[in-house]
């Protein structure tokens, strides 16, 4: 294994005696620490954390950060992720000590500021989505879905309709939808998309019945197309006595355009880390508020926030509530950021979000469709899907196109999703990108389109210009090395057993240490 100084672990840079913090020396209590706990309760073997000085730690992490693509450095057209700019005034607000230092269990009188933020955000989200009440507790979209589906179940149980054991999802749905439904013991039934890329009404009619609990939809769907038959869909679902769930991953298309509440959705989850600009942080945190129509209010998780006069307070637990989903009150820091975002944009700004997002997407679509065919060729909303199917003839896949884009200085779009489009490239530019950036992206795609024909090898082996070439994911999965301790064991043994001789895979390798470059 080639290890340069840049990819050394903090553990590997550790030297005994170095320290990165200076803590108080004085002890107030008369006894030694080792006398304060019975010996059997004390830690015997010290935790072998690395020992580095502060400058070394800073340099270590700053150098790591430089290996990343990020919104603040690159265009990130990831479909259904809404990689928009993360405003810095949101960060300023979250860092205010009067917000950041509040303890979640302080008495209500001492956190009226926080309670006001929670309350006001709920009102804003109600106005934006057309729903009747929101819980701000769920920690992310997937937990919002869990919350929503638990309420679906509680609702049907309250009407003695526990026999409703089926949940319908479109075949283009995000993986969390069926995963969530299955976690709750539902049987997942896939509804086919029609030739126009929308939910096929016939398919839906056939699947709906007295055993249907819910249809989970995102609108626009993952192809970026508005479900124009949504009114009929809503009617059909409600007539069957089922509920309609809205996955808010694509809500960036609808601000000021249309509201899920008006479309007839009973439950809505939003992703604050998508539509509402909170940062992605390398995988989280997010926040997934869930909104409901009046008939589902009793089932919301507790607590909710109430306002009486000028005073805010936690509402007492409802007896039909599905319970608590996480400790304390929710992702407060993300709730605050979203609040600041909404008030920065205001009514006109919010509307402009979706308008520019849709305009940017259609501009890219119209300029790219001659290079890679669009899955469904009509005006899209905030995202669209291309197919790299034609590159298959050259032995290339959507994945390879994505990797080659990295060399051109763009993060790859979402690849191989939705599953209904072969060799899918899902592209969502968002409203915070300039026309110049979009034009550069178009130029890069044109170039890559040419390379597919004239020089497929350069695409197949991309990326060429990043800190690493393509990693051996087979080795990583067959022989997981998940900690520094694992690595020590592996490197002592030399070759990792069995992993490097698989037929068909290109990369050979072992964990045997090679002198650092």
């Amino acid at each position: 294994m080639l290890i340069d100084s840049d990819s050394k672990l903090s553990f590997e840079k550790s030297r005994q005696g170095r320290r990165g913090v200076q803590l108080p020396k004085t002890r107030f209590f008369g006894k030694k620490a080792s006398d304060l706990l019975p010996e059997s309760l004390q830690r015997k073997n010290p935790a072998a954390l690395p020992e580095l000085s502060e400058p070394e730690v800073v340099r270590h992490f700053v150098n790591l950060s430089k290996k990343n693509f990020s919104i603040d450095t690159h265009f990130y057209p990831l479909g259904s992720c809404s990689m928009k700019y993360n405003p810095k005034v949101n960060e300023w607000a979250a860092a205010l000590p009067d917000f950041a230092s509040a303890h979640p269990l302080q008495s209500e009188d001492t956190v009226q500021g926080w309670l006001k933020i929670f309350y006001e955000l709920e009102q804003d989200l109600k106005a934006i989505t057309g729903m009747d009440r929101f819980t701000l507790q769920p920690a992310a979209g997937a937990q919002g879905e869990l919350c929503g589906m638990m309420m679906v179940r509680a609702y049907h149980a309250s009407r003695k309709e526990q026999h409703r054991r089926k949940v319908l999802v479109p075949d283009s749905s995000h993986g969390t939808n069926p995963a969530t439904a299955a976690l709750l013991g539902y049987e997942v039934v896939e509804i086919k998309s029609n030739a126009r890329g929308r939910v096929d009404l016939e398919s839906l009619r056939k699947a709906l019945g007295p055993d249907t609990a819910c249809l989970m939809l995102t609108n626009p769907n993952t192809l970026g197309l508005f479900e124009d038959e949504i009114t009929q869909i809503t009617e059909l679902v409600h007539k069957a006595g089922a509920l309609l769930y809205y996955d808010g991953a694509n809500f960036n298309a609808l601000l000021g355009i249309a509201r899920p509440g008006d479309m007839g959705f009973d439950i809505v989850h939003l992703n604050l880390h998508k539509t509402f600009s909170t940062p992605h942080g390398g995988g989280g945190p997010g926040s997934g508020p869930v909104g409901v129509k009046e008939k589902l209010i009793p089932f919301l998780p507790s607590p909710l926030i109430e306002k009486k006069g000028n005073r805010y307070s936690f509402q007492a637990d409802g007896s039909q509530s599905i319970g608590r989903l996480k400790a304390f009150h929710g992702q407060a820091g993300m709730i605050l950021r979203a609040y600041v975002y909404i008030h920065t944009l205001g009514r006109a700004g919010l509307k402009q979000v979706s308008e520019d997002a849709i305009l940017n997407a259609n501009y890219l679509r119209s300029r790219l469709k001659s290079i890679f065919p669009v899955a469904v060729d009509e005006a899209c909303m905030h995202e669209f899907v291309l197919s790299a199917r034609n590159a298959e003839a050259k032995g290339l896949h959507a994945l390879d196109i994505g990797k080659r884009l990295l060399d051109y200085g763009f993060h790859a779009p979402t690849v191989h999703f939705p599953l209904v489009v072969p060799e899918a490239l899902m592209i969502e530019p968002t409203e915070t990108e300039s026309k110049e950036t979009l034009d550069r992206f178009i130029d890069a795609m044109i170039q890559i389109g040419k390379e597919v024909d004239s020089d497929p090898e350069v695409v197949k082996n991309a990326p060429h210009t990043l800190p690493i070439r393509r990693p051996d994911e087979v080795l990583a999965a067959r022989n997981p090395v998940l900690t520094y301790q694992d690595w020590l064991r592996e490197s002592q043994h030399g070759n990792s057993s069995g992993a490097s001789h698989a037929s068909g895979s290109e990369t050979r390798g072992s964990f045997k240490t090679v002198p650092a470059a």
Binding site: E473, A476, A477, S497, G498, H501, A502, S503, G504, S505
Partner: protein, 128 residues
């Protein structure tokens, strides 16, 4: 691509080898080729009850997970523990050292419902 004559097959790409009432099961060369590099196999527990046509094991590649279905009903009497440390065996030797488990067949009539080599081969070549 090989389709050994002495084995029987399912439409879902499992092969079965009979010894008395005991059936040894694995996945075919065609299947391992479609899956590409196998990284992990979730084998059934000993004594698990297999039901013909129902999922009994899972094969993982880097990017996907595939259900493996029991060709016949019966109790699982043996599993191939070598696959734990060397899942690549499924790719390298799918009909030999890459076997998955053995089932004690409850109803021997089920053996006759399995595909012969020729029929399975046709299925693979026409659906592609």
């Amino acid at each position: 691509m090989q389709f050994p004559e002495e084995l029987r097959y399912t439409q879902t790409h499992e092969w079965a080898k009979r010894e008395g009432n005991r059936i040894r099961v694995g996945i075919t060369e065609y299947a391992q080729h479609e899956i590409s590099d196998v990284v992990f196999i979730e084998l059934p527990k000993s004594n698990a009850q297999g039901v013909k046509g129902k999922g009994i094991a899972v094969v993982e590649s880097v990017k996907a997970a595939f259900d493996i279905y029991a060709p016949v009903s019966g109790a699982v009497v043996k599993v191939n523990s070598a696959l734990e440390s060397n899942p690549a065996l499924v790719n390298e030797d799918p009909y030999g050292r890459g076997w998955f488990f053995e089932i004690e067949m409850k109803d021997t009539a089920e053996w006759d419902t399995l595909l012969q080599a020729e029929a399975y081969k046709n299925q693979c070549t026409t659906t592609h």
